[in-house]
Symmetry: D2
């Protein structure tokens, strides 16, 4: 349940009502709708149903919404949130494409990738320095050095960087360097990491877990928002189903559902979502059409020699062609690329 | 494995080589690539690998393709198949929208629906007369009478009809009346029904089963094709996953994959695929963008009073708006509506 | 909702109340609890809630149960149903093992299998004569001849036969020959086939579909029960999930849930449920322990040469060992083998 | 691939061969088979296939095994590993039942639970002090204080404690207090946490993720084993599927498969695996029969008032009855309770 204070109610009065509500065992959450006047109430249904806030003289509006996510909900925050990643606005009029290699492998590789991304009209760069790998014996990424190489290459082409963090202890290597922290599918419910990402105040790209429901994704984002950090971008990257012809099943239903239920921006990663380079372009177009705010795309100078995920990476030429092909679809949505 | 006879090889010689191959335990399937000169070979891998057809003087080309679907494969039939449903071509330059109610309920209802579909630019009408219902105590449809009502209403607006058949014994009620038989998700592997649909020679819309793999869908189509009926249209209508926020998970990866691996046309049903009227438009646009050849959409004059599936049905106004919104996306694909 | 007439209410009075209920738009279903005095009511919730049957002078008891399956429910039929397959009681004190090859291949093969099954203590024989195959180019079974061979071999060892029917038209080949019709996973929602199986009056083994919910399985059984045939045996045979290490995921939760919610007997097929011969024994024991009424097991004289499913078939020796190993687990449940 | 040095080869010689292998780009892993003489080789298939270790004079045996988990594999370590949790051996002749409440709520609650567990023959106590909750607004557990209460209560009844760790920073609150760290389903691929759990040297109960494959579970265990900690216990707790009648789908196929492929002990948690108290007993029995080494069971003095998971918790009486009912099944496996 949400309620909005009338404009002009004094701070002391507001606090008085909030305390009264807390005394009934409810949690009160400041949410970002209607200036700073909106609050969500979380607690036992029986208590919530017994309240009579609708007639309270200081209350402008009560919105009954049973969804357990509060700060992420559109119910009181109907307008889209725009998150700025290194100056690039995500969630607004521009459809944002962020691209780059799965893993940072070498200086030459990230330079070639950054050049290709910028030349084709990409507005941000992705790339893994700390790599979450299913096996401890697989390449684990170059770590802090990888971030240095990635940030340097991207910087030469004026691209902000989005890259994954696996361990709270590594946070200093990301701060003041990367445009956004990425929290990957495996860590979507690593609450210690979500809280620290929230406290960092940095923009966060939160990827959906392989078998996370949409509600669980929004509740995971709520851990970040609850630390006072509203710079959260969601990302659909495919879920795990019985189908094995594609690496994952990209859930575009989920993207449309998210745009309906939350004000946070939503990206799609068709590279992981399909696992097959030849399917990236059609699913990228579909992501545009379904209403996503942008894309994460894997681009590698030599996909066949990539240390990971080569099968799903586009070449620089393939990426340039994708950007040309996306244009009419982006324009059909009333946005620009 | 496929091979193509050289042009000009005489029938008797062809038959001689085919017999020789059959004597080795292989099955030979005439497929529709390269005129009537192409054949698929099905059988034990060891036998297939031992053949030396590449050097055979009558053989123009050998294509090694491990996929178990043969007649549906693009390997020897690279050009798209166009299926005509009552004169309407599916799989060509025109993006086809077929719409109508979940179930035929009354003469007035189908008339209102047909009028709405035609007015907005739909090119075919859907509607269930024989309804597959999870419970034997739910409304089972009006049967043969339902088909009469549907065909009459659609005919007044020059729309061909697509409607589901559940039982081979009902076939006479469909023949010479409907434009295409629909085989529903529950019957995708009802081989008796697939074979009879094949023998009928009528166009068939074959819907993917709720947990059928893409390969199983193509193999089910192969049962129809194998009866000499190449008028098969595939339809993605959502698969069953762990996600419950939407009724099903529409697998647009699957649509792109199918367009890559088969020459048969592919429709998408975003009404069943999402189960939520408010998500039909974004997923319809995404289906256009991903490369589908058309849509099946549920439209009902009064969704709130529908006997089934009201939650996912568009109103006539909603449908007209959808058609307007689809236009720029269809044009972005180089097709027309 | 269910209600039970008091004992001694006259037929004409009963019919009067039933007609009254039907006039309110409800469907009345005779169910087998409390002699012939129990009825289920199916219809709109609003109508059901408005009834005041509890105080009706002819009514002994009203049971409010929201489950949509009525005749299969334990709510009014708490005692287990025992189904007799060729004289063998399934669902009672004896734990029943039915075994045999995936497909009937030859007279010698079924004779060897029947001998092995009987010698080890199996009480019924399984084997496919009409085979549902994913590809039309795979071996489709020997059909009516296969049934002859199977029934003859099983008969020599006094075993009743359970075998799959795919097509209503084949029913005469099954009648007066086999002990029970099997309806396979692919046809669980082939309603035309379910209805005919119901009308046949023969015992039916109904296998759960690969992605059918437990409620859908019970509703499918309701199609058979609704034709007046209460000789239905359910079978869990594994569902389709993301896990690929095993062929399917055997849902033993589902078996316990079914035993809780229905009075019908439940078998388990660990051969299809695992797809791996080395996992059949542990899962067979687990099926006993979880409360199943019996097993379907694939046994083949030479699994390595089987035309289908060899990887999951036991040898005669392996089957004999399984039967010995099952004994203490069956006894731990208070049953005998 | 694995190889084993002959007995009597000197350390310097061993190191020489290992260095030679590393120089070819391979990783060499000491594994626990055949004394300290066994090693696994991880690296490019082409390099592995080119080796000729079989004829090397210092090498006793080469085992070609393509599985990517090496230290967890049974290939070179056929005998079962027994892990001691506070003196209680898991994986040996005794079937171990560990029970307790979902969350530590109060001193009285854990005391009542500990008493019930010990009285009925449980050999360890479970209970959450740090709770991973889908929503940040749900009860998060009493943290360090919760561990104090749990350890004190369990200690009074001579039960070692298994409890979940969410954050590496909390490790000091677990060390020298609890018998085993639990890593929950949400953190199965939180590699930072796995590595620290490995370094701690404490026994670890690693729960399978909701959509983790069995191979991924073994590879997650490999992160712990790779830190030199071989005290790892796996736990199946249900996977996420389309079925919603039960909270999860308990994958007993997976337990049998794991016992076949790894030497590590395997527990089952039928409380989370079913989500329904009335299904815990049948699935517990099935877990015994399928070959699990023990159980995790939720027991709460007043399930109806539990702060979390009350629907799946047994009462003390229900737990005592379960233990009595398990006995004959445990004995049927040749073990004791």
């Amino acid at each position: 349940m949400f309620f909005v204070f009338k404009a002009g109610i004094e701070d002391a009065d507001r606090e008085r009502l909030l305390t009264e509500l807390r005394d009934q065992g409810l949690r009160t959450l400041a949410v970002s709708g209607n200036g700073a006047r909106a609050h969500a109430l979380v607690g036992a249904t029986s208590v919530l149903e017994g309240l009579d806030l609708d007639r309270h003289p200081w209350v402008e509006e009560v919105i009954r919404d049973a969804a357990p996510y509060k700060r992420a909900s559109r119910a009181l925050h109907p307008e889209d949130t725009v998150v700025k990643v290194g100056g690039v606005p995500i969630g607004g009029d521009i459809f944002i494409v962020i691209a780059g290699p799965c893993a940072v492998e070498s200086e030459a590789q990230v330079e070639a990738a950054a050049e290709a991304v910028a030349a084709a009209g990409g507005r941000g760069m992705r790339g893994g320095a700390y790599k979450p790998r299913t096996s401890p014996y697989s390449f684990q990424g170059h770590g802090a050095l990888g971030i240095e190489l990635l940030v340097a290459a991207a910087g030469r082409h004026a691209l902000p960087v989005v890259t994954e963090i696996l361990d709270v202890a590594d946070l200093p290597h990301f701060q003041n360097k990367v445009g956004a922290l990425q929290i990957g599918a495996r860590n979507m419910q690593n609450y210690a990491l979500l809280r620290e990402a929230g406290k960092s105040g940095m923009p966060v790209v939160l990827k959906r877990g392989l078998c996370a429901t949409l509600e669980e994704l929004l509740l995971a984002s709520e851990y970040i928002l609850n630390e006072g950090n509203d710079q959260v971008i969601l990302c659909e990257r495919g879920i795990r189903t019985f189908e094995t012809a594609t690496r994952n099943t990209l859930d575009l239903n989920g993207v449309a559902w998210l745009k309906h239920h939350t004000h946070l921006p939503v990206l799609v990663d068709p590279s992981h979502g399909t696992g097959l380079a030849e399917l990236v372009a059609p699913l990228a177009k579909a992501s545009v059409a379904v209403g996503a705010d942008g894309l994460l795309i894997e681009v590698h100078p030599q996909p066949a020699e990539a240390l990971s995920d080569g099968r799903q990476s586009l070449t620089p030429d393939g990426f340039a062609q994708l950007m040309r092909e996306l244009k009419p679809f982006v324009e059909a949505t009333g946005r620009r690329l």
